[in-house]
């Protein structure tokens, strides 16, 4: 049996009268690929935000690698090995794609050098064995972004911005990667290719993945476990074949008419 890398115990979060998370218990096994599904406002992003330290739960504990990270801030959580991508890509818009990635590896180098003012951009990044430039180029290639190397990110198309956002999150070599709606805002034709590419790159390193997704075909194709959120609670938790057939999931999230086709895709 794999070890538990992330353990959320009894998470609660309210915004005024709205309950965004209600007694959430999730234990994530190392190497898992978990799809988070639910309608808008069901609590998926709140869950992701609590794990990554953007929101502090009202009560409950989050343990990562056996360590309590509930009160840590995003920066500290990233440094421990949990990184995320964003529903709306968060890029450095005046920089090129290459510079965006260089910045990511630059921060890694800076942290490895304990924030030293004299960290050099052309030095080997400790633990990575390559320079910032070489790592950034390699990452562009892995994510199929080499053609956009010198383009300022502000003008890049949605799908490319998404991939770059994920490439930047992967730069820290996270133990857990959280992807918030990796295919939202991406055209229907592109999204399967994008997701295949992302999963190929991410999963080849054995990274544990949790992704928020509205497209059930993508969930069925990539997730080995599904967490279904409704009204701040988890209403189903299991392999996609089972979770996507759950009566409440069918009623509130998937929709009865789509159920058959989606579950048929499941692996």
């Amino acid at each position: 049996m794999s070890s538990i890398i992330l353990n959320a115990k009894g998470l609660n979060k309210s915004f005024g009268a709205v309950t965004a998370a209600s007694d959430i218990h999730v234990a994530v096994e190392q190497g898992a690929c978990i799809g988070l599904i639910g309608t808008n406002g069901a609590g998926k992003t709140t869950f992701v935000n609590m794990i990554t330290g953007y929101l502090k739960p009202d009560s409950g504990v989050i343990e990562f690698d056996g360590r309590d990270i509930t009160d840590l801030i995003p920066r500290q959580i990233t440094q421990l090995g949990i990184s995320r991508s964003f529903q709306i890509p968060q890029l450095y818009n005046t920089m090129t794609a290459l510079e965006n990635l260089e910045m990511s590896y630059g921060v890694i180098s800076l942290i490895a050098h304990h924030g030293s003012l004299f960290t050099r951009t052309d030095a080997i990044v400790p633990g990575y064995g390559k320079t910032i430039r070489a790592l950034a180029e390699e990452s562009l290639e892995k994510f199929g972004l080499s053609a956009y190397r010198d383009k300022v990110t502000r003008v890049l198309p949605g799908g490319v911005r998404k991939l770059l956002d994920i490439a930047m999150a992967m730069a820290v070599r996270p133990k857990i990667l959280l992807l918030d709606e990796p295919t939202s805002g991406v055209s229907a034709e592109e999204k399967f290719d994008i997701m295949d590419m992302v999963m190929n790159v991410v999963r080849s390193g054995g990274t544990t993945v949790m992704f928020v997704e509205h497209d059930m075909e993508i969930v069925a194709r990539h997730a080995d476990r599904v967490l279904a959120f409704y009204d701040g609670s988890i209403i189903a938790d299991g392999p996609p074949q089972q979770a996507l057939k759950d009566p409440r999931v069918l009623k509130y999230i998937v929709g009865e008419s789509q159920a058959a086709s989606v579950v048929g895709e499941a692996h």
Binding site: T52, I73, P74, R75, T78, Q79, S83, R84, Q90, L91, Y92, N93, T94, M95, E99, E102, M103, S104, G106, V107, I108, S109, L110, I111, G115, L117, F118, T119, R120, T121, I132, M168, A169, A171, V172
Partner: protein, 313 residues
């Protein structure tokens, strides 16, 4: 840190200026030295601007540097320029370190106005302190260099040489910083602080760091201005002084570490010419120059140099 070509060329240019100093009139040497002192402050403002911040109160550290110099001469009778410069740098750096804990938490207009508030507090304190000459300030005695008292005809050129040396040291340091991941992080913070934090970087710590560096630079600028003019007064902390520094920052641009010095030199020329030709309305000339720069060269004078480089390439 390495000395790159433009800085090397600039160093050669400064060396030539020094060699030509016997033929330079005293007023020109004075103007160049003050431009160098102002450039030091603006070099710090350039760091802020890279991170998307504008300080309306950088004159605070300019004044602290000047008064630290003054106090060292008055209270401890130190006149060695290196002792004075180090004291000014340390005093302004320590103050910036303390205030930085508060200021590094703020962004945009809040950062600007809070910095303005602190500079005006210092102005108010100094203006009310009779022991320090109130609004009249006090004089700074002649400086020495490692025990040597330069004779009167050599005072200007000696201070000019020290100013150039300090400028080059600071330029090389800031240039190295801007090319390091920490320096690149400034642009990242300006573009997207959330992303920078989610990469594991601390925006607050980075801003605190440049706040201290900018404080030290401004303090050194204040000390150089103090020994050049030979007199200090609370107006050095007044908001119009901070305004002048922002003006020079916009005039020079932020494209290179040399831009602040280009900006402050051109400002010195505009100021001198405007003052000589219309002593009562020179501010109007400065205002018109600012409007012209914003309309015609929004990225500052350095954009002309960048364009020339591109055209040559």
């Amino acid at each position: 840190m390495s000395i790159d070509k433009p800085i090397f060329r600039f160093a050669v240019f400064l060396g030539c200026l020094l060699l030509a100093s016997p033929w330079l009139p005293q007023w020109a040497m004075f103007m160049i030295t003050i431009a160098g002192a102002n450039g030091m402050v603006v070099l710090g403002l350039m760091l802020f601007l890279r991170a998307g911040l504008v300080s309306f109160g950088q004159a605070l550290y300019f004044c602290v540097g000047a008064y630290a110099t003054g106090l060292m001469t008055q209270m401890f009778k130190f006149t060695d320029i290196f002792v004075l410069l180090i004291s000014a740098g340390v005093m302004s750096g320590v103050l910036a370190y303390i205030l930085g804990f508060l200021l590094a938490k703020y962004r945009a207009i809040f950062f600007g106005l809070l910095s303005l508030a602190f500079s005006m507090i210092l102005y108010g304190l100094l203006a009310k302190t009779e022991a320090l000459g109130s609004t009249d300030g006090f004089n700074i005695p002649a400086i020495t260099i490692l025990g040597w008292l330069p004779p009167q005809p050599l005072v200007r050129v000696t201070i000019l040489a020290v100013t150039f040396a300090v400028m080059l040291l600071c330029l090389t340091f800031v240039n190295g910083l801007l090319r390091s991941p920490r320096g690149l992080l400034l642009t990242a913070i300006r573009d997207n602080e959330i992303r920078a934090e989610y990469m594991g970087a601390s925006a607050q710590r980075t801003i605190h760091l440049i706040y201290v560096i900018a404080g030290v630079l401004a303090g050194l600028g204040g000390a150089l201005a103090a020994v050049t003019v030979g007199h200090i007064d609370p107006a050095m902390a007044f908001w119009t002084t901070s305004g002048e520094f922002i003006f020079i920052t916009i005039l020079g641009g932020i494209g290179s570490v040399l831009a602040p010095f280009l900006g402050s030199m051109v400002f010195g020329v505009i100021h001198t010419v405007a003052f000589a030709n219309s002593p009562n309305t020179w501010q109007m000339m400065i205002g018109l120059a600012l409007i012209a720069v914003i309309l015609l060269l929004p990225d500052g004078l350095w954009s002309l140099v960048s364009r020339m480089k591109k055209a040559r390439a």
